[in-house]
């Protein structure tokens, strides 16, 4: 690895007070954020590097390049041969992988705690010193096309989801699939990948999360040694995506595929996300999704549609506020045998309207708050999941404090706030309603 000694990056750091037990965070002078989560129960460490760059940060016309680059990061650098990164991790008994989402790309290794410096050396190396060849591009592009075949082309439900999502976001890049549109993936070039890499893979656009049997001071010293010398991207643009125009018309779509065995109706509404210092609305929507469709047996939709009316075999409501820009709130209804999608959708609408009319069941609300309290206990058992939560938050516009405030904000949500927020579910102008069917569904229904 080339040490960027010409860039004078003194290793001073801005230390913030420890915000909660076992979690420490720092920022190096070159902009790298460092987060340490201690868990000393086993001699294991997880190192993760999260880049504030995901599929929604791609330029137009090169969809899938963020994910493509993620694959290419396992190829050669100035210090490592192609494949050597993972081989070295494995030879030391560790495992490694990576993931790409709409707002972030992440890389991680899980390894014996005394091998942290080894994986840090390699992760710091590939942040700036990737050496890609044209051969890498051709072969790895075939691999991501096969990945798309596996995840999407072979799965009617995934194809349907892609079409619905494109209808949901009329102007924002969240409407473009993370893996990319096939016709654009086929043309992704070395230059496309490198342009994304050079701009976004830099210490001032990254977060290092180290979790496990480590001491914060040791992690910091290692981070300074290995990541400290890396040069930041000086002209790093502020993250701002093209925004949605007002949604004035309800959107509906139907996708028929002979591989469908179980038709269903699904509707998503454009919805606000968690924002730093302003998470209230997202907290209310989180509680709304739990009450409406969090548990098949005890939720409102489950009770009404699966138990009382016996018209559905499965129902759900879903919402995730972890998103840089506007997210979605969704409802699903999988009708019972003999119930067509028109009837299923009407029943779903009625159930939601009744919920707004009837209000929140106090006992159900109390049980969900109990679950919330317990989740704070259970989550301590899985330090990698905690690391994931912080990494996702810090790349989605939130801070450590926002993550730590979140449980309390959820706890303070009131029943009245939930009902007030549920009114958005009556406005279908914000929504995309999709029917997934077999090709002959219409004929079957009319028989």
């Amino acid at each position: 690895m080339r040490i960027l000694s010409l860039v004078i990056l003194a290793l001073t750091l801005m230390t913030r007070p420890i915000l909660a037990q076992d979690i420490s965070n720092y920022t190096l002078e070159n902009g790298l954020e460092v987060l340490v989560i201690e868990d000393h129960r086993a001699p294991v460490v997880v190192q993760m590097v999260w880049y504030r760059a995901g599929a929604a940060d791609e330029a137009r016309g090169v969809s899938g390049v963020a994910h493509f680059l993620e694959h290419l990061l396992f190829k050669a650098t100035d210090d490592l041969e192609s494949g050597e990164f993972s081989d070295t991790v494995a030879a030391n008994g560790g495992s490694d992988n990576a993931f790409t989402s709409k707002d972030y790309t992440g890389y991680y290794q899980r390894i014996a705690a005394d091998r942290l410096e080894l994986v840090m050396t390699m992760e710091a190396d590939r942040m700036r010193d990737l050496r890609l060849s044209v051969d890498d591009i051709a072969t790895e592009r075939d691999v991501i096309l096969e990945e798309r075949n596996m995840r999407t082309e072979n799965d009617p439900s995934a194809l349907f989801s892609e079409q619905r999502n494109a209808a949901q976001y009329m102007n924002h890049p969240y409407g473009i699939p993370i893996i990319g549109w096939k016709h654009e993936m086929e043309k992704l070039s070395l230059e496309d990948a490198l342009a994304f890499y050079r701009r976004y893979y830099a210490p001032n656009n990254a977060i290092l999360v180290v979790a496990g049997d480590v001491l914060p001071a040791d992690v910091l010293a290692l981070a300074k040694k290995h990541y400290g010398p890396l040069a930041p991207t000086v002209d790093l643009p502020k993250r701002s995506r093209t925004l949605e125009p007002p949604h004035l018309a309800e959107r509906r779509l139907a996708y028929a595929d002979p591989r469908v065995s179980q038709p269903y109706v699904i509707r998503t509404y454009l919805a606000p996300e968690r924002n730093s210092g302003a998470q209230k609305q997202a907290a209310v929507l989180t509680m709304l999704s739990e009450l409406l469709g969090g548990n098949g047996q005890t939720s409102v939709l489950g009770r009404k549609l699966q138990f009382e009316q016996q018209k559905a075999i499965y129902t759900s409501a879903f919402y995730s506020g972890m998103s840089l820009d506007q997210t979605t709130f969704g409802l699903v209804m999988v009708p019972s045998e003999g119930v067509d999608l028109a009837e299923g959708e009407a029943l779903l609408d009625t159930a939601v309207a009744e919920f707004i009319e009837e209000g929140v069941d106090a006992e159900q609300f109390a049980r969900i708050k109990m679950q919330l309290r317990a989740s704070l206990i259970y989550e301590r058992d899985d330090v990698q999941a905690l690391a994931n939560m912080y990494g996702a938050a810090l790349t989605s516009g939130l801070t450590v404090k926002d993550v730590q405030d979140w449980p309390e904000i959820l706890k303070d949500v009131t029943a009245d706030e939930v009902i007030e927020a549920a009114a958005m579910l009556l406005d279908k102008k914000q929504a995309v309603t999709g029917w997934l069917t077999k090709p002959d569904a219409v004929a079957e229904v009319s028989q």
Partner: protein, 437 residues
Amino acid sequence: MKRIYMALIALLTFTAVAKAEVEIQEVTSPGGITAWLVEEHSIPFTSLEIRFKGGTNLDADGKRGAVNLMSGLLEEGAADMDARQYAAAVEGLAASFGFSARSDALAISAQFLSENRGAAMELLRAALVEPRFDQTAIDRVRAQVISGIQGDLKDPDDIAGRRFSELAYAGHPYATSRSGTLDSVAELTREDLIAAKAATIARDRLFVAAVGDITPDELGALLDGLLGDLPAVGANMPKRADYQLTGGVTVIPFDTPQSVVIFGHEGIERHDDDFFVAYLMNTILGGSGRQSRLMEEVREKRGLTYGVYSYLQPMDYAELYMGSVASANDRVAEAIDVIRAEWIKMAEDGVTAEELDGAKTYLTGAYPLRFDGNGPIANIMVGMQITGLPVDYIATRNDKINAVTLGDITRVAKRFVRPDDLRFVVVGQPEGLKPAN
């Protein structure tokens, strides 16, 4: 009586600086139920893993799917609670119970807080001892199971796996889906479910592991309260399954862009002296977690797939050596050729010293990393018990890996890697690939 074992896992070969310490206690309850326990009091909850050996292999003739449907109904009403009341009670305690019907065992996983452990165990006891099997619940869960079976019938992975099993084990429960068929599930009655419970959930096939905020005495009392009222004896275990498949290619036409392939032949028993040798050899050939030969040749060099794997699949009554790959219809024939060539190469030439060393370091180093959390540790411990491994296995396992020699691999590769016996089951519209027997 309690016996305490200390299992030290040496982590990594040369430096051996880090060690994972798992202190397993063998607990016997006053009522005579045994369990393995690791105390971990730093977080106020416990993970409990329960297994009843037998599983869906114990479906009665003509009642395929009964054990699966029964297991889905255990949490759908018990004692004086109907399904919704039961679910609300579990939710209110923030406990979670999972019931899953596997081929060789019924698996129950529970997680519960220390503050309401007693109440949570009352609920789990009700599910295991006094499930109601209300007709409305049966019909509701049956509809979910049937929807799942219909989905499997159109899923290329399921289609491939099912065909392989049918061809391999005709006449044995392994030949058919654990969930049953559309017809068999439609005809199951409440009596069938009661019989399925009596066949599978009994103390003569019980294995338990617990990890978390609980002492041996507390666990002993818990075991008697939770499991003491179960019947002593269940149904007879099934016979061994004879492998009936020969080498060749089976093509199942299915209109989808990427062909899905399952391949394999007979494997090696878990208790065979050569199991660790075969395990190491497969790690090199097609294991997941590190760069295998198959991944290198099929994915890295040729870009023919996103993933290709091979794995040993020892079951209680048969054993397989299996693999999978998925590749576009116009490229899958080449992927199969490459896999076949790697199979031949392994059978004829074995592995290099460098490959063997790399696989050893990986496997011995990765092993302690599995012990990361209450649930995973409980899972490992219950798996050891049901497999018949001793409590000191954790301490000796890496030694067994390290003892494998190049000569061992050569010998075992000749014995267990059989290119001529490989059967490929391909679901899709593969080009240039002819069925062959």
